[in-house]
Amino acid sequence: MSNATIAEICVAACADTYLESGEILAHAVGTIPTIGARLAKLTSSPDIVLTDGEAFLMAEPPPLGRSASAGGVVEGWAPFGRIFEILATGRRQSMMGASQIDRFGNQNISLIGDWSAPRRQLIGVRGAPGNTANHRVDYWVPRHSARVFVDKVDMVSGVGNDRAREHARELRFHQLGVVVTDLAVLDFDSDGAMRVRSVHPGVDPATVEEQTGFPIDASAAPATRIPSGEELRIIREVLDPRGARTREIPD
């Protein structure tokens, strides 16, 4: 089995965020990050704890898009109230979306424009400030563009590396991992600035640079790893036989 799609390469990149995680609650927003967490559970990171997206912790991946009651083995109960307690203990790792993100990983999901007069009101900061203050956070951007990768975000929801350094003591649990996009995997250098870790096979590095709204060098980046045959089989036959991943990134 070969010819991995970009969506499948992204799933594997999302799964790789759990390689060092141990027994933590994997919180994933979006279809491809959700498949990625479940792939990690079935392959490289069997100790991570999965949710069904509702109130239950699952000992094995539940059917995609369905909750625990649709089948699967419940190993715990974690309603929303418990989630805030879990994240405060640090036993959680999130992959969140980003309407905007800057070079230091400051993320915005709240609004576009001024706080007092938003041009577009979005969902609100949700849990991003608390997540970034308490445990590792990665980001998922299905359409890499200069509208998302901006010089300055309009409302810092998830805290970036520069701001975390200004509050080094209080934000000592702050940890940004990677940003997985449809073009590349990005991470952060020792100064906390974003850099290109890898470019997906078939993507021109110049495209990554053009679609990023701040200067970034993709010229020397290696190719993102292609999922193994076994990983592709699990993605295609076990986790996402109906191809929900193609709704985030078409083949």
């Binding site: 309603p79 949700r126 400030p129 203050a133």
Partner: protein, 288 residues
Amino acid sequence: MPDKITPLSEAVSLIESGMTIGIGGWGSRRKPMALVRELLRTDVTDLTVVAFGGPDVGLLVDAGKVRRLVYGFVSLDSIPLDPLFTQARERGGLDVTEYDEGMFVAGLKAAAARLDFMPIRAGIGSDVLPANPDLRMVSSPYSDEQYVAVPALQLDVALIHMNRSDAGGNGQFLGPDPYFDDLFAMAATRTIMSTEKIIPTASLLDDASFHTLLVSRMYVDAVVETPRGAHFTTCAPDYERDEAFQRHYAAAAKDPAAWQAFREEFLSGDESSYQEAVTRFHAQEGAR
């Protein structure tokens, strides 16, 4: 045990202009929608609304009932944004306090414990602090550490919806998540609890374990029996979200003429006429 069974209109008369009201549920899940719809029928205004927002927030904001909104998010879950809320924000004139979700819970916990504030790490370094310049930091008395001091979200009235209740106000949730409804009740001076069905106290454990007894009557002032009272949000396991109706709501809310028609069809009468209109809506959908 006192009998607190109260008609819908009488229960909502506890709410006065200028009050701070908390609304239970989460997004588009187990919202006390019948209570919200009844509130829309009053002339109450100038409210501060505290909620993990869903269509409750959209409807109250659109009706001009809200002076200030305190929230961690406003979402319809299966539809990411509530158009009535986003339009109100983009028009301007709505005062908002946008917190991290954990900060929001901390504010309720402070109120429930009759404390001024609750310390939390969430919010440090984010723009939640500059957006809410009244927020203060607090120094640890034990180290050099500083935390966000989330002020107590003291509520005059909490509105919550339960699957079952007895006449005295012992409330039972039967779905997977209690949300924060017990905390809303504890943070409030008075609580109005609507319920799918009022049953005898002795029957509360007939079909469910004691862990489902979420809300004690100690916190509850009025019990309102409102079958399908969370419609169109979820009230599992009694019913799931009415996705077709929610899509209709969200689509109508984006267009002034369609929204006017929606209001006339669904919100111009009382609760029973609302439920009848929903039944008609589905009959027409089915015939289409």
